[in-house]
Symmetry: C2
């Protein structure tokens, strides 16, 4: 089955909105084993839309459109596609009643235009929309499947997951699993994966770099669900053997969520002393619901004064070794741990750039100190990139070090 | 002039890469007054690409392609377009020499494949690429302009700005200006703009919401540069009268950059006490180069203990009024200001959710206290949205309050 994704809206062709719907749908179709050959976007113009649909009907078996299902006169996707297919529009009494009820329930006035949303091409069915007023449309005609979805991503994504998957799948079972890694570069990971030769005719393995971490995605298909699941489990097992230390989680989980979850499970509290990351690690951790159970405090000791006054770093240490040094990182961590309120402390000091680097201490040089009651370790890193990349990579490194400490503590 | 943007690459149709090139180019063409009617993406397949180009030649006057100009066998944009136009490919000796020199200079080995990059369709010219090995191609034939650019955004954007603009512009002068606002909602701003009736036949005014701030973009065109600039200046003047308090800057500047710049100019130092934002404000400020000149320290006092121990909040205040209260916000700010190291302190305490809300203190309730040596103000906010939205809006509000204090101090 060959798919084309058609996006309708002048807000996209004028560059006022970034087209993330196509990105989402392409990923989902890829995971279902459906090949997407084309994406087309067209502005809100009846003639041009009609022509785009005719071209799509000519070259694809599955057409998914987003946008143009609302109540205004700019919204004409349903009307134009019905015309292109030679189908009449009928008023669906059930949908009319549903819309009326919904408007009554939410106390909003239903305009005449909203009735447009109860129209459907003859023989088509509606696709329910839990998050908005515009239902989707499904047409199955002459071996072509046409699916129309509304433009707002939170409406569209939900409808795809809940209803569309079932409308376009066949007997083929497609399962996928993501293995999330940290601390190993994408190209290194990729070449090691190639050497392992884990892919089979039914299974693809791909890597995706995501801001300092790398996702390994395994997608497998077949007719027997149990066999497909087994194949995935086998590969995940092999990956676990090979990359054990680098794997922090599976599927849709990021490293800060893993760290917060582990801290909660182990009943440990954490404290942070950040200099060059300026609160980024703390901000990432506190994005996760429940962070208040595990983060006690963070000190962004950006100036030297703050390092001395807030964390008790010895002024002579700063003078002798500099703010970016193993010794300062150690004293920062010790200062906070000695307050006696947390079990683990991570301190960070480095040069994020663009200025402030020297030959001995170049931009990208970072020291982290991870400290518990019994132990500590200072890690020296040299990161490449601009200010923001260096800050992000440092933050991910810090989260990974917390994770490693939690594995053994 | 009608434009079509064609993106070439299987990484886009499989959803492995988000297509930001089209977004960028659509904006740029819109600003140049060129109407983009279509975006098309096609995977790396010779036959399908050829057909896509034929369709584009049929319906557009300007075709801009991105991707498929590299040295591998998957890269075939130039070859296919030359074929579609009936043009032969010639080896350009000058470009060959240039490539050889570049490889020699950077000490890399030039493979035979790299020679592909010195080929150009007969009559076409190269577009220089400062950031990569693949040059772009410009063809002007039968009243159609075809521009081929490489896929990597940092190569493509630079080439567009430096060379492509001049290739596609006509005598029309198009100028634009962005007015960035904070503290006023997009729909409110839009209806006030509509009432002002500032737009003219040659001038469009549009608003774009950007994570808590709203950009007003003015685009004006004409044949006389001085007149066009005057028209924009007049509108900016009117906007300044109407929205004075909400405007924080112009063109490509964000609010944290404005705040850092103002602090540097006024020679003031800042300190932050963050609870519900967990270091987000500090992290936004320290993203800006030069932040070390103005941020002294930030205390993320996430637990009640931290509020007491790090900021000297009175335990009885926490008991009587709670951590999320006017009184606590005040004492947090006072605690840090009394250290005597900074001129301005902002403290933040609130409920980011999803848990922790009550009827009296719902999720989204936030208190900010802005304090200088002479003055202080506590602001109560009720934000809507999920945890991350509440944190972001609070951070933007805090930055805006610092900005306001700096205007009068």
């Amino acid at each position: 089955m060959i798919a084309e994704i058609v996006t309708i809206g002048t807000e996209i062709t004028t560059g006022s909105t970034l087209n993330t719907n196509t990105y989402y749908l392409s990923q989902k179709l890829f995971e279902l084993g459906i090949e997407t050959h084309y994406h087309t976007t067209v502005d809100d113009d009846e003639e041009r839309l009609k022509r785009v649909i005719e071209i799509a009907l000519d070259r694809a078996d599955l057409i998914i459109t987003t946008g143009g299902l609302g109540p205004t006169k700019d919204d004409m996707t349903k009307e134009v596609i019905a015309k292109a297919l030679g189908l009449e529009l009928e008023l669906d009494e059930e949908m009319k009643k549903k819309l009326q009820d919904m408007f009554a329930r939410t106390g909003r006035r239903m305009s005449k235009n909203n009735l447009k949303q109860a129209l459907r091409p003859k023989g088509a069915s509606f696709i329910e929309n839990d998050n908005g007023t515009a239902p989707g449309i499904f047409i199955n005609k002459d071996n072509k499947k046409i699916i129309m979805l509304p433009g707002p991503p939170y409406e569209m994504n939900n409808m795809f997951e809940k209803h569309v998957k079932n409308l376009i799948g066949d007997e083929t079972v497609i399962l996928s699993k993501s293995v999330n890694t940290v601390g190993i570069g994408e190209s290194n990971l990729e070449s090691r994966l190639n050497e392992l030769k884990l892919a089979t005719p039914n299974t693809t393995i791909a890597t995706f770099a995501k801001g300092g971490t790398v996702e390994i995605k395994i997608i497998s298909k077949g007719t027997d669900r149990v066999r497909v699941q087994e194949e995935i489990d086998n590969i995940v097992g092999r990956l676990r053997e090979e990359f054990k230390d680098y794997i922090y989680g599976y599927d849709n989980i990021n490293i800060e969520e893993v760290v917060v979850k582990m801290l909660i499970e182990k009943g440990k509290k954490i404290g942070l002393c950040e200099s060059c990351t300026g609160g980024l690690v703390s901000s990432m951790i506190t994005r996760v619901p429940g962070a208040s159970m595990v983060l006690d405090r963070a000190i962004v000791s950006y100036s030297n004064d703050a390092k001395v006054e807030e964390l008790g770093v010895n002024p002579s240490t700063l003078e002798k070794y500099g703010a970016v040094s193993e010794e300062t990182a150690y004293e920062m961590a010790k200062g906070l741990l000695d307050r006696g309120k947390v079990d683990i402390v991570v301190s960070i000091t480095g040069i994020a750039g663009p200025d402030g680097g020297s030959k001995e201490k170049p931009v990208g040089l970072v020291y982290l100190c991870v400290m518990t009651r019994d132990n500590h370790r200072v890690i020296k890193c040299n990161f490449n990139g601009n200010r923001q990349t260096i800050q992000t990579r440092t933050a991910i490194k810090a989260l990974d070090e917390i994770r490693k400490v939690l594995i053994i503590n």
